[in-house]
Every structure is written in structure tokens, then in C-alpha cells.
């Protein structure tokens, strides 16, 4: 057995890869991640992006792909590389647009297909609104909400961590924070979805 065997999964068919990813096989995730990075990174960098931006866009792309695969109803109708490239390209174009950095000519680094974004991007609005809303919250709100809703911390843990005298005070604080979060979240979310 060569030591390489541990690192690199033998070449398998696309279906096998998809099945493994649906099972959340992390070794396969690693192989897939490494395999497709150069193409998408090239696309971003060749179109005005930095290496850091390439990494971010690529990770967002992989996250969307992985998330979709956890949905049993989702069926991939093209090659993995085509799907990833098309999602990555869309995300990068959107980002360029947001930053007003649109380039006149797009340098392709692969083959893109047209995606049904209402289906593929179904989580994006919620995620983006939540991300921005949390970013715009100050402390301790952001951490309290993240701890409670994302890291499943109990109210007792939060009471202690933030030094509240009793859990009722912590609850009041959490209530106020959530109220503010909701306000920001829905103003962003409703804007995005009506656009």
C-alpha cells in the first residue's frame, strides 16, 4: 500500500462520487475540492479577482453543491465540473456586479451552462440576509444569538459566559437581540426576494 492511497481516492465514476457526497463522505469531499479548485480559481483570477476572492467564491460554490446533494430531490443533470463552474461563474459575476467592477470581456476557464437559479439558489436569500443581519448586530447580541441558535448553547451557558446575574436577564437580552435581528433580517430578506 502506498501512502498515497490514504490521501487520494481512486478515480471513481461521477455517480459514485455523488453518492459518497450524499453520505457526507469527507475523504471524497476533499478529493473533489482539490480536483476542481484550479479551474474555478482561474476563472475568478482571470476576471479581476484576487486569490482570496477565488478561495471564497470557490468555497461558496462547493457549499451550494454539497447542500444541494443533501436534498434527495435534487438530481445532477450535468458533469460535476460543469455544475461547479457554472455556479462559480454566476457567483463571481454577481459579486463583480455588486462591487461595480464589471469587466467588459469575460475570460472563460471552462464550460458553463444555464442554471435554474430559483431552485439552486433557494437558500441564498435566507443565508445572505442572515449573514448581513448578524454582521450588522453589535456585541453581545451577535454572539448571544449565534451561540443560542447556531451553536446550541443553553441559556444557562449564555448566562454564565456573559456574566448575567440570572438566566432571566440573559433571556431578556436574547429577546431584545432577536427582535432587532428580525427587523434587520426581514428588511434585507424582503428586499432581496422582491427584486
Amino acid at each position: 500500500m502506498s501512502s498515497d492511497m490514504k490521501q487520494v481516492i481512486p478515480v471513481s465514476s461521477e455517480e459514485e462520487i455523488i453518492l459518497a457526497l450524499r453520505r457526507c463522505d469527507e475523504r471524497v469531499l476533499k478529493t473533489v475540492y482539490r480536483q476542481h479548485y484550479p479551474q474555478i480559481a482561474n476563472m475568478v483570477i482571470n476576471n479581476g479577482g484576487s486569490i482570496q476572492e477565488a478561495k471564497d467564491i470557490y468555497q461558496d460554490t462547493v457549499i451550494i453543491f454539497y447542500e444541494k446533494l443533501q436534498d434527495e430531490a435534487f438530481e445532477l443533470t450535468c458533469r460535476i465540473s460543469t455544475f461547479l463552474y457554472s455556479v462559480g461563474k454566476r457567483l463571481w459575476l454577481k459579486q463583480l456586479q455588486l462591487k461595480n467592477r464589471f469587466t467588459d470581456e469575460f475570460h472563460e476557464a471552462g464550460e458553463a451552462i444555464i442554471l435554474d437559479w430559483t431552485e439552486i439558489g433557494s437558500n441564498e436569500d435566507q443565508y445572505t440576509a442572515m449573514h448581513q443581519a448578524l454582521e450588522s448586530m453589535g456585541e453581545p447580541c451577535r454572539t448571544i444569538l449565534k451561540d443560542f441558535y447556531m451553536h446550541s448553547a443553553s441559556m444557562d451557558e449564555i448566562t454564565e459566559k456573559f456574566g448575567y446575574t440570572n438566566s432571566d436577564n440573559a433571556k431578556t437580552q436574547k429577546y431584545k437581540c432577536l427582535k432587532r435581528l428580525k427587523k434587520i433580517f426581514f428588511s434585507l430578506y424582503n428586499n432581496e426576494t422582491t427584486e
Partner: protein, 370 residues
């Protein structure tokens, strides 16, 4: 009549499926007759779903970051295929070069001071005892005690007599770790006690200058702030403070620099008090050595529970660590500094090697020049 907050709580428990069967019945009846409540429930479900998406993405991104870091360190070649079509800034390489150049020059400076016209008679590796009580040993490492014995004889000129001076250029080292994203770093007071300059380095940061911000002799804590121009900020710290007490028997681990390389050590909390019943510290069963001082102490989930500070020399495997809640309390008392202490929880559920991979960039060797 119940108030808004209680309604909110009911809605949350309803959405999370935590209501009792009877309560559900009443709640659903209420829902039918109250449109505003229906809308509030829908909104709450959207919020919960957005949180859940964010949670899963955060976990996945942590995994991807590990994969990415590994890929980058393993294969430098990855940068090669990335050709740039557009002409863009190229300062990164220059900056890199400058950085290395600067480090060489710092090293050179130190060497020049130490060696200039002198003979290094001894490079003494020893331990440094700071707390006087019997067997407590603070754990900074005296790297080089360069005894300067200068012997300058200039050929043929008689006025110059032989001179001999003793001068100590010493550097202690210890360990330090990031406390917040914006460059606050914590270490032991006894490490940086007499420091004129302090430098931090690890695998990622070759050399960062830091300044002392505040110290607490009793707790043996020193707060540093990275003052280096090269430094902007850390990425989000993967760990956070644990404010509650650890339990005896809990598994803990530390990362430190008893030598130039980072060294991992593990053990468990053996007692809720430190040396001679010091209630601000724990006793832990991690073998530590000079240089480990100021190292972070983590529990299994990667929560920061303390900072390694010393050991009992007359007992095997009895090391001491300042408790995280003492550290947190102390930090709150520091005025004029806006410190938002890390509260990351990104290490939960990862295995130890992955936790270390995520942590190592935030743990530093602290070099001190007096």
C-alpha cells in the same frame, strides 16, 4: 393576557416542537383566530431556518478551510497554474521579500549586539524562577544568556589595555495566544517581565512585534497587543473563553513552545486549585517544561479554559494553569482598551489533529529581548 415577550417564547417553543400536547392544542386554536400570530410564526420559522442554514454552512466552511490549508501547504504548485490575464498589483511577492528581509535584519541586529567584538563564552539554557515559594517554578525559558566577555586588543597600540566586561543580553521565551481578532495576545507576566521588546512568531507569522498593554503580577498575566505594521487582523478565532469552571477529570490539552517547534501536551484537570490552594488556578496533569508558560489550555471541545503558568518541581506531573474566568474578569478591568474577547466555537466536534490545525496559527512563541 400575556405580554409580547411571553408570546415570542411560546412561538419559539412551538416552532421548535417543545410545547406539550395540551399547549399545542390551545396554541393552534389561537393561531386560527389571530392572523398577526400566524404571520409571527411564519417569520420565526424563516429565522430558524436561516439560522440552521448558516450553522450548517459555518461547519462546512470550517471543514473546507482545513482542506484548503492542507492543499496549500502541501502543494505550492497550486499557485503556478493560476495565470493572470489582467495586469494586477504584484506587491505580494515584494512584501513577502521585505518581510523576510526585515526578519533577517532583526536577527542580525540581535546577533550584532551579542557578538560585536565579543566572545560568546556560554550559551546557558536554564530555568528562571520567579515565584519564590518553595517549589513553584515559572516556566519561561532563558534562551540565551550571552555572557559578553570582551577582549579587545588592538595590535600595536599601547594605550588600549585589555578590557573585560560582563554584559547580559538575554532572551526569554514563552508561549502566547491570540485573545481577540484585532491582535490582543495573552502570555505570562513572568515571561515578559523585564522585556524591552517582544516578538511573536509561529508557522504563519514569522515575526510580529508586540507591546505590553497591561500586566497583573498576582495572576501572572500579561496582555500584549501586536503593534507590527504588517499585521492587520486575524481571521475569526476558532475558540472562545469558557467562563464556567472546568470539572476535575476533564480532559485538557495545551500547545506551547518549550522549544522552537510547537509542542502538544494533554492531560486532565486534577484539582480545582493551584499551588498551595490558589483558587485562581487549576492543577493539571500535563507535563510542561520551561517555555510552556503562557500557553493556552483547552478542553475537549476547544474552549479556552485557562493558561499554563507553572509547575510544582517537587511533584511529578503537577502543572498549574490560571483559570479562564479569572482571565476574563481581569480583562474586563482593563480600561482604555476595547477588547472583544474571542468567542468562537468552531472546534466543537472536530478531532484533535483538526483542532490543532485550526489553532496553531493563533499560538505564538514569545521572544523577549531585555
Amino acid at each position: 393576557m400575556i405580554d409580547k415577550r411571553e408570546t415570542e417564547e411560546l412561538i419559539e417553543r412551538y416552532c421548535k416542537g417543545q410545547l406539550l400536547p395540551d399547549e399545542i392544542k390551545i396554541f393552534e386554536q389561537w393561531l386560527e383566530s389571530d392572523l398577526a400570530l400566524t404571520k409571527a410564526v411564519e417569520e420565526h420559522q424563516t429565522i430558524l431556518s436561516a439560522f440552521s442554514i448558516s450553522e450548517k454552512r459555518e461547519q462546512l466552511r470550517n471543514k473546507l478551510n482545513i482542506i484548503h490549508d492542507e492543499m496549500e501547504t502541501e502543494q505550492f504548485a497550486f499557485k503556478a497554474p493560476l495565470k493572470k490575464v489582467t495586469e494586477e498589483k504584484q506587491p505580494s511577492r515584494i512584501r513577502q521579500f521585505y518581510r523576510q528581509y526585515r526578519i533577517i535584519s532583526i536577527a542580525a541586529m540581535v546577533t550584532i549586539v551579542a557578538v560585536s567584538g565579543t566572545l560568546i563564552t556560554s550559551v546557558f539554557m536554564g530555568v528562571f524562577s520567579n515565584k519564590q515559594q518553595g517549589n513553584y517554578q515559572a516556566l519561561s525559558r532563558e534562551v540565551e544568556r550571552l555572557k559578553r566577555s570582551q577582549r579587545a586588543i588592538i595590535n600595536g597600540i599601547n594605550e588600549n589595555k585589555e578590557t573585560e566586561t560582563d554584559n547580559v543580553v538575554s532572551g526569554f521565551t514563552g508561549t502566547g495566544f491570540a485573545l481577540s481578532k484585532d491582535g490582543y495576545v495573552l502570555t505570562s507576566y513572568h515571561v515578559v517581565k523585564d522585556a524591552k521588546s517582544v516578538f511573536l512568531s509561529n508557522e504563519k507569522f514569522e515575526q510580529l512585534e508586540a507591546t505590553k498593554v497591561a500586566v497583573d503580577k498576582a495572576l501572572d498575566l500579561a496582555l500584549l497587543k501586536i503593534s507590527d505594521e504588517q499585521f492587520k487582523s486575524f481571521s475569526e478565532l476558532p475558540y472562545g473563553f469558557k467562563n464556567s469552571a472546568a470539572d476535575p477529570g476533564e480532559k485538557v490539552f495545551t500547545l506551547g513552545y518549550p522549544r522552537e517547534e510547537m509542542v502538544y501536551g494533554e492531560g486532565s484537570v486534577s484539582s480545582m486549585t493551584g499551588f498551595e490552594g490558589d483558587t485562581s488556578a487549576y492543577q493539571v496533569s500535563i507535563p510542561v517544561n520551561p517555555g510552556n508558560s503562557g500557553g493556552p489550555l483547552f478542553d475537549n471541545y476547544g474552549n479556552l479554559i485557562g493558561m499554563v503558568s507553572g509547575k510544582n518541581t517537587s511533584a511529578e506531573g503537577a502543572s498549574f494553569a490560571v483559570q479562564s474566568k479569572q482571565i476574563a474578569r481581569y480583562i474586563k478591568t482593563i480600561e482604555n482598551e476595547n477588547i472583544s474577547v474571542a468567542s468562537g466555537k468552531n472546534l466543537k466536534g472536530l478531532d484533535r489533529p483538526s483542532q490543532i490545525k485550526r489553532l496553531k496559527n493563533y499560538v505564538f512563541i514569545v521572544k523577549v529581548f531585555n
